[in-house]
């Protein structure tokens, strides 16, 4: 049987990059990640919960992140994700990629 964790695996560059970046500041739970991205982007980027958790689980299956249950400052249980070494390498790659892609896209846009 197909591994359900890997099912529908396709490049999700942007969201993955945003998650990796957010987690590079330290372990955080899903809601924290949403909140962080939304706040830092001044509300420009709104992460869909519906895609966030599948992405997180997929990344966990690829060993980019590692999840474990901890207690928040407010005493609530939540699943905290942190970067693995693979994750850190992937972040570096993705940041470079993103810079290249962004530069490329910008050039195309300017040309058109």
């Amino acid at each position: 049987m197909e591994d359900p964790a890997r099912r529908g695996d396709r490049p999700q560059g942007t969201l993955e990059l945003l998650i990796l970046k957010t987690l590079s500041r330290g372990a955080n739970h899903g809601f924290g990640i949403t909140l962080h991205i939304q706040t830092v982007s001044d509300g420009l980027l709104r992460v869909e919960e519906g895609s966030l958790y599948p992405a997180l689980h997929r990344m966990e299956a690829q060993k980019l992140v590692k999840g474990d249950w901890r207690v928040t400052e407010n005493g609530r249980r939540a699943r905290f994700y942190s970067l693995t070494d693979t994750g850190k390498r992937r972040l570096a790659e993705a940041e470079t990629n993103w810079a290249l892609v962004a530069k490329g896209v910008q050039k195309v846009l300017r040309f058109a």
Partner: protein, 872 residues
């Protein structure tokens, strides 16, 4: 194996974590919303709004990715397995409970299936019937040769009508050693009527059945194997049966059974002879069977046979018996099982009741689990799992339980069946065919799955509530009522079982302690039959018995000794009461059934311990000559003479002009089984000049010798007179004990079921109350904080138990009073409404329920208010 579990666990971990994670997300979001200044309700709704739609989409996407239901089923199955793995205790309790229920009913089913349901081993068995006269003489219909010959000539409803003689024992000599085998004389068309052909050789031909044809026999598969070693060349071989050379013409299939289920080894031609005098043929008994014509029902056959029956009744049945004899046409199955049918259904009912109790227990367990998982289900519902999806998940779980229970149940059923077969009394119909077969497995599977659906559907129907997402404790109340109903139902059913058990046990106790009219202890019996040709002559028999009697009397330590032709608690087939006449009295009433009789030697009453009421015992001096004197049983004396003194009266017994003098009256002794009142009976003295010396005799010894020693002596003395007469020595107690085998078997089986049911019901009460205490620990804490004493709390819990047990007991009493009436026919001297059985059953149940409630009640009383209140 563990690796597999681990891998399964890892693979599916994300999915559950997901639900918990989403729940945690919702909580965090709600709190954040609160912090933003929203009201609690608004914060909650907003959190769901912000989350809901996208999650629904998510579930849909997932569903779209999944390949249809198979994947869902696989997922559900693995989900369920994970659930079971998480709570192995729950799993074990549920499975073993179910296995007990299924095991018991499977074992019982496998015993009664060949009786009630499986088709008989004859082609088109539904066409086979038994037909004949039915009267008080026998529990089965019979026929006489003269009537049968007429019926055979004139009958219309049957394709074939056939007959067989009653069982007899033959001496078979094949090679060296003579042995006793079971023989039946059957008509030439006997096997054809049943649609059976020999495996080897040929069937009887009409000419074999002619009065003076050379004798040919068919033998059973068993005899062929055991005596002839399965010799393929056996056909045409000559052996000796009852000192006559006979030729073997065929071997019957192994699966062939006699229509009345008798053991058999040899079939001989029956050789009815119409040329014999009517008085002979009308006194010669037969069993008659028939195959109905196509499209003729049993009722039709009965109508069509009526005129022949009426005619036969006038010709062949003594006037005294006519009023009590009727025509019987019934299916072969009914003929075979009518004696055990009620008991079979009763046992199946008891086993199914046990299964129901087990189901109630499992439903309770599943409900309790569902309550604990309510949050999980609510989350799943919230993220868009449809209602049907959740119900399916629950049902998958219970079906899996059902399957596991089925496997366990089959295993247990096999064990139970082994025990059942070992415990079963001899002659339990078709017990040999009881086995865990495909049909039985299907039955087990059917009952398990039906049970699974029954107990799975209840928790599944509960609507998941949105509130469960937040404060799940609040929503716990509703199914509690359902669970209590289940407990009440359990109590009710187990009360029915318990009442049944106590009725059967009381009935058994009464049966075993009733006065028999004789004392079986220290009484040994030695029975034998003279079969040799030369004993056909009365003089030879008299000589044999005189010699033997002298020898047996002198056995050292033999104690009181007597010889009889039969002994209680059975008797000879009786003679009509109305045949007798008293000298100088008006004729006796025409109705009056049968009177048993025996031929005995002096000392019979002393040996058996039967008390003399008036008059005296027989004396040896009386045996020399004259008419044999007579001793009446008390009930016969009362019936014939009322308050008149019977001693010295003269009675004509057989309308033959011979008058016997009554010399004594003996107390009644059981003579037609031990579960009915003794028939009236008279005893005649075995005279030296012949009368009374039949071929069969029983020697009685009231002695302190042990069985083996006496058997040795008796065999030696018997051999001294005539070597080669097999003798059976038995303790009278064992002989009488056999009559209670069946009631004892029934009673112990029902008692075991009731005990298991009781334990299961107690577990049910315990489980529900434990849960109640766990759920109410906060409330209990509050009460205690407000000053309630532990004792009050404990009483409160006991009160709960009391109410629901009480309702169950009340329902059970009503149910019992209805159901036990159905088994009236199985009870001896106990009324189905026996108040002491009902009250003792209710009492036992109430006490057990109180004990089961005691532990949770104590736990409730020990709740620490501080801990309980801090818990939430």
């Amino acid at each position: 194996m563990r690796e597999l579990w681990r891998r399964l666990g890892r693979r599916f971990h994300p999915q559950t974590a997901w639900h918990e994670e989403i729940h945690s997300h919702l909580t965090l979001r709600r709190e954040w919303n609160r912090a933003q200044g929203l009201s609690p309700g608004e914060a909650h709704r907003a959190a769901r709004r912000q989350f809901g739609p996208s999650l629904r989409t998510l579930e849909e996407i997932r569903a779209a990715h999944t390949r249809a239901w198979l994947d869902n089923l696989l997922g559900d199955t693995k989900n369920a397995m994970r659930g079971f793995r998480r709570s192995p205790v729950f799993f074990l309790i549920a499975i073993s409970t179910l296995a007990i229920g299924v095991g018991a009913s499977t074992a019982v089913f496998s015993v009664i299936d060949p009786l009630l349901f499986r088709s008989l081993p004859y082609p088109r068995d539904e066409q086979l019937v038994s037909v004949g006269y039915f009267g008080p003489i026998d529990t089965n219909e019979f026929n006489v040769v003269s009537s049968y010959l007429e019926w055979r000539r004139l009958q219309t409803p049957f394709q074939m009508l056939t007959s067989m003689r009653p069982a007899s024992t033959c001496d078979l000599v094949a090679g060296g050693t003579p042995q006793q085998v079971a023989c039946y004389g059957v008509e030439a068309n006997f096997l054809r009527t049943f649609g059976i052909t020999p495996d080897l050789g040929r069937d009887f031909a009409p000419q074999d059945d002619l009065p003076r044809a050379p004798t040919v026999i068919l033998i059973s598969h068993r005899l062929w194997q055991q005596v002839f070693g399965g010799d393929a060349q056996i056909l045409g071989r000559t052996v000796t049966v009852n000192e006559e050379p006979v030729r073997i013409i065929g071997v019957l299939p192994q699966r062939f059974e006699m229509p009345q289920l008798g053991d058999w080894d040899v079939l001989l031609p029956e050789r009815l002879d119409a040329s014999l005098p009517h008085s002979v043929n009308s006194n010669s008994a037969l069993r008659t069977f028939a195959r109905l014509r196509e499209g003729v029902s049993i009722a039709d056959a009965r109508d069509q046979m009526r005129p022949l029956f009426e005619a036969g009744l006038r010709e062949d049945v003594p006037a005294a018996l006519r009023v009590e004899v009727r025509l019987m046409v019934r299916s072969l199955r009914e003929r075979q099982i009518h004696e055990v049918k009620l008991a079979s259904w009763m046992l199946l009912g008891a086993a199914l009741a046990l299964l129901l109790i087990a189901c109630a227990n499992i439903a309770n367990l599943l409900l309790a689990r569902a309550a604990a998982r309510r949050r999980e289900l609510a989350v799943r519902a919230a993220i868009g799992a449809g209602r049907g999806r959740l119900i399916r998940q629950m049902l998958t779980e219970s079906l899996l339980l059902g399957l596991a229970g089925c496997v366990g149940g089959c295993g247990l059923g096999w064990v139970f069946l082994g025990a059942l077969v070992r415990l079963a009394p001899d002659g339990l119909v078709r017990l040999g065919l009881a086995a865990i077969q495909l049909r039985v497995l299907l039955f087990a599977l059917g009952t398990s799955l039906a049970a699974a659906l029954l107990f799975g559907i209840l928790p599944a129907l509960e609507q998941p509530r949105a509130e469960s997402l937040i404060g799940w404790r609040a929503a716990a109340a509703a199914p509690m009522a359902l669970r209590r109903c289940l407990v009440a139902a359990q109590v009710a059913i187990s009360l029915v079982l318990l009442t049944g058990a106590s009725l059967f046990l009381r009935s058994l106790w009464k049966l075993e302690t009733q006065p028999l009219g004789f004392r079986p202890e220290r009484l040994l019996t030695a029975s034998f039959t003279l079969r040799r040709q030369r004993y056909q002559a009365v003089a030879a028999r008299v000589a044999f018995f005189q010699q033997l009697e002298t020898r047996l009397k002198t056995i050292p330590g033999g104690g009181s000794f007597a010889l009889s032709d039969s002994i209680p608690p059975r008797g000879s087939m009786g003679r009509p009461y109305s045949n007798m006449r008293i000298a100088g009295h008006p004729p006796l009433a025409q109705k009056g059934g049968l009177v048993a009789f025996r031929w005995v030697t002096p000392g019979y009453f002393q040996a058996l311990g039967i008390a003399m009421v008036t008059g005296r015992d027989f004396e040896n001096a009386e045996r020399a000559a004259g008419e044999p004197p007579l001793i009446l049983s008390a009930s016969l004396a009362h019936r014939m003479f009322g308050n008149e003194n019977p001693i010295g009266q003269h009675i004509e017994l057989d309308s033959d002009g011979r008058w016997s003098e009554v010399v004594g009256v003996a107390a009644d002794a059981k003579n037609s089984g031990i579960d009915v009142i003794a028939d009236p009976e008279y005893y005649r003295l075995r005279m030296n000049d012949g009368p009374g010396f039949g071929g069969t005799a029983v020697a009685l010894f009231r002695t302190s010798l042990d069985e083996a020693t006496l058997a040795r002596w008796v065999r030696r003395e018997l051999a001294a007179v005539d070597p080669g007469i097999p003798v059976k020595v038995e303790r009278m107690e064992a002989r009488v004990g056999r009559f209670t085998d069946r009631p004892r078997f029934l009673a112990s089986l029902v008692a075991v079921f009731a005990a298991i049911g009781l334990v299961l019901a107690a577990v049910g009460v315990y489980g529900v109350l434990s849960l109640l205490v766990a759920q109410q620990s906060r409330e209990i804490g509050v009460r205690m904080a407000l000053g309630a004493r532990p004792r009050d709390i404990a009483w409160r819990i006991q009160g709960y138990a009391g109410i629901w047990t009480g309702i169950g007991v009340a329902a059970g009493l009503i149910l019992s009073s209805v159901l036990t009436r159905l088994v009236r026919g199985l009870l001896f001297d106990v009324s189905p409404a026996d108040p002491s059985s009902l009250t003792s059953a209710a009492g036992v149940l109430a006490i057990l329920a109180a004990l089961a409630a005691w532990v949770p009640a104590r736990r409730a009383a020990r709740v620490d208010p501080v801990v309980a209140l801090r818990e939430e």
